[in-house]
Symmetry: D2
Subunit: 351 residues, 4 copies
């Protein structure tokens, strides 16, 4: 803690979209002070060179990646680093006595053997996989209290799991019937340059990618399996939508009974009672992505269909906030025993 | 026929997006002459007042809706009119001896009792429902030869049916397992003004609408049922994507066997052999909407999944061309016994 | 004041983009409580029916337009009403003893005879035109202290005047040489429906409107004339850009001397010293609209050109914040003698 | 000529946006056959790997850059290559006896000394600069007849020069008063990847670039100077607009007399009489970029202002068509003595 009594915080990956959103949100967190913004690629630069919108807001040069220095300057580190980088860096930070919220996928899977298949690189040591608490706040929030290391959920898994878990826990849907048609804005692909994210290739275009091969599949299945008490396998498709922010997960499942829209609304409102960042919409109201943009909300709506015996569940988040930086801060709040909403009281920006 | 030996054509609904696309495409059709552009709301105006891009291309004032006048001036009429309007107008045109290609939904369903439920207005007389040939060119093209009246398929049904029919006919997928997650650009909603299509409400936003209630559901089920030989019921969701043109239909079905991507590619290439406007993509290649933009193509790709026993089929069209004006002209070509591709040789506009 | 010691605030026009942005921003203002959200067209509705993003944030039904009721419930009223409506409503509110910040154009021009020409409706009574303080905060901020009635500047004039005034006051540019090429996102046109703002008409399109006829011209000229001490007439063009938020004003003027970029940066930094919401960029750095999105900043950059003897000045704002709701709150802060930045500490949302 | 009597054509740079547009347009040219598509970076690949929209349309592998091979296979070569590459390649092609239409900027400036300053690389040999005919079709079309080598104008110069030349030639505007505020869609930046063209950096953003430094400035000034008969210097600003295609040039100039909108319309219609691809709009009608999208049109509108004595001229083109591939084909037609419109009869794609 600094003299002001604020928690000293470092952000690794401050030149990516997740990192810069952490800066935006933490700027107004009443108990946190940013003491280091870190980038391996741009160390030494003023942050406003890469992000001119921060001109005059955070006058700070980017530090390099140096765990010893972080241990001196910070109490907690957010690692918004690419998969593979966190796997190596996070253990060093933990050894140095730092608290860590990791935004990569490197510590989300409990079974290390899954990494080679889905992430194409080796898993971190098992002890770290075990230590990492999977920080899906509205489901596992109580596990976060007092721990030193949170693995922050992926963007697609956040929208998807919050949309499916109450129904699975209630035993209302058939485990082998789950189909997830997910759509994301382009920030989900990161700030790296490639033809895939060239404006003229995305604009006025809708495309799929990684059908049945996305690395978020095992993360979703791992948690659904835990909730269901039996192995759950899902069909999962991802689409790239011509917009910057937002994820919509449109989910289909066969129902085990004749449930109505009202039944689902009631079930979910009970499950999420007291959790301010999940908004279960009224019967007949399906959320759109812009209705949560810039905020930490996950909004959920339902359409049951007696003709087919299926329910369609629609869940939306801002992928950069609830799907990354916002949930990471929510996790920090839970780790520290603070109010869950601290520094996250953003009304969605509309339009 | 006029002295030049061209077919005289009238377009009703020339101030909508479907009508104006008919004008664009018919301008370069070698056997057709546009002799009347018709609008009930803007009769008397120069067409370039509402559509300045046509300045100097088609110097013509909009005519009113007058079947007798159409019978004098035209041999064939395209009715790009709202649902409910065609139901009344088309019988008059047919009685006047005109050939008709109707782009509304008013004559697509064979069972008149479905109209009240899905379209919220009464059905046309049964004799016209019977007379109307459902013009899904690559499936029912031979039925169009020589007839006087074509009911042009809807945009969603075109993409969806072309993506599902070969698999259903082959008996490869389970009829009760079909889920269709469809996405459309905003032109699909027409040129009428409403808050729903306000730029600031659509831009940087993704929303659903009419889940399980879209009027294209009975059209899809009617044709799938005919092909399957038993009643087929589908789950069908529609999304509005921030783009002007394009439909993607992402379809999920349980497979009855262990089919591979290659099996599907082979099956579909055989089914669509000789049909130039369906492009079955290579194994592993999934089409994006921009790859057919401005053209009459329907592109299809596959992702089978041994883990879940399901296939994901992705079908894309330009909703204004293959989903409306282009297929209507393709139907005209088939009616007249002309080459199917006449006036439709457009390379997609990319990017 | 209510028991909590907060200023009670009413917002008229809560179903427009300006009104809903006032709600977003005032939600986090530490000294303000929203006690009434008002709409003439939707009185009685829950606000979340028209703006679902506010679900669970502001649980309040819309009130009708009733000055007596406002006087009971509020201390200050923001009128985010169309031009012509404010002209009638504001005098009633002032007579009822309310403080008013008016976001319409109805009280910005001091010469009432201008209204018929530019606004096509009669001017309000002269006494109100005289009473209204033109609230361009960084220029006339000291005039706002303690007054009851602020006329909030227009979006284009805010960006334009902040970009031109220091150079004019310094006598560096020729008064008869000023050309303003302004560009706006679509929210500037309001939430009303029309073909002009139909998504498919705006998307992938760039158009001009009201060249030399925009009602913001006399507002700009009035203030430039006051600063210059002689009549200033400008050329002013407005463009509609396919984006929701943001204004860029690209301004051209002949220089009276051989000034450099550095000279301009120094001059403007001195002029705006101590004003946190104008960011004068470094030499060679020109701001883009997204760099102020969602925030109250106005960013300014310069390109002098020795070849032509002209300077190009680029000024950007978020039209809904600094061009409307944000500056209105900044004006409230100045009226009340509060810190200028209260409730406005938003970091731009990027990307 | 091949047996079919068609002109054999090679396209160098077939993996860029200009090259692929040449393919789209030449596909329907009645007197041209594409015999080689060439790319230095992707030689050996099927063209549909990089451009899936061409699947089934042009079944051809990309050739490498080999002048001898081109001379065997083709009669004319379009070089849609980056600046600096054409400078080296084109002389070899001309020596090999090929006709060339060069789409780069390497042969547009007659004064070789300008290249180092504006293009940052050396000029080609003077003999080629002299040989190159600057192919601004509607102004210098007669110079193209029968020549072997055309330097195709830049996108900004095409829109700008067509908008200014008639007024300059008539002596209606002051030569030292010309200010050009130009805006372009993102295809103008090419298909190369960079942070500047990342979707999330362009979307919902408007930015300037290269103010007073753009390499199209000397090209514009060279031609205006020729027309004016005295040195003309312009102020020129470029903006990047969140759209794929389209350029708008908004031009300002002081008038030498009291000309009206009607005067300008009449003057320009007379100047462009018989030139089908310039559409001078009616009085009071200003063109928007989408109104020429996908077509070879340049549309022009005017707003004179008696208050300021200035005229605002707005000129729009599709930068990929009239600003690149379309005008290149128009030049080919003129070189060959063919009808100017051959293969270019595209109606704009709207919306």
């Amino acid at each position: 803690m600094t003299v002001e009594g604020k928690l000293r915080t470092a952000i690794v990956g401050s030149t990516g979209y997740g990192g810069v959103e952490l800066i935006r949100l933490l700027q107004s967190h009443p108990k946190v002070e940013i003491t280091s913004v870190i980038s391996s690629s741009s160390a030494g630069d003023a942050i406003e060179e890469g992000f001119p919108h921060l001109t005059g807001i955070i006058d700070r040069r980017l530090d390099g990646v140096d765990p010893a220095q972080m241990a001196e300057r910070a109490d907690v580190v957010f690692t918004a680093t690419p998969s593979g980088v966190s796997a190596k860096l996070v253990p060093q930070l933990l050894e140095a006595g730092l608290k860590v919220v990791d935004l990569s996928g490197d510590f989300r899977l409990k079974d290390g053997s899954e990494y080679e298949h889905w992430y194409k690189h080796p898993a971190p040591a098992d002890e770290y996989l075990e230590q990492a608490v999977y920080g899906l706040c509205e489901v596992f929030g109580e596990r976060a209290a007092g721990v030193d290391f949170i693995s922050n959920p992926g963007c697609y898994p956040t929208a998807t799991l919050l949309g499916l878990i109450p129904a699975i826990q209630a035993g209302w849907i058939k485990h082998d019937s789950i189909i997830i048609d997910a759509k994301s804005g382009v920030t989900g692909a990161g700030r790296g340059t490639s033809l895939m994210v060239h404006y003229a290739e995305i604009n006025e275009n809708l495309k799929t990618y990684k059908i049945n091969k996305h690395q978020h599949i095992p993360e979703i299945e791992q948690t659904l399996t835990e909730i269901a008490g039996e192995k759950v396998t899902v069909t999962f498709t991802t689409h790239l939508v011509p917009m910057s922010r937002g994820i919509m997960s449109t989910m289909y499942a066969g129902m085990k009974g004749n449930y109505t829209d009202q039944d689902f609304v009631d079930l979910y409102r009970e499950y999420y009672a007291g959790r301010p960042y999940v908004r279960v919409r009224d019967v007949g109201v399906i959320p759109a992505t812009k209705e949560v943009s810039g905020s930490n909300y996950c909004d959920i709506g339902f359409a049951t269909d007696a003709r087919t015996g299926r329910v369609t569940i629609v869940s939306v988040i801002d992928n950069v906030v609830k799907g990354a930086a916002g949930q990471a801060i929510q996790n920090l709040n839970l780790m520290m025993g603070w109010e869950e909403t601290l520094g996250l009281g953003y009304t969605p920006v509309y339009p």
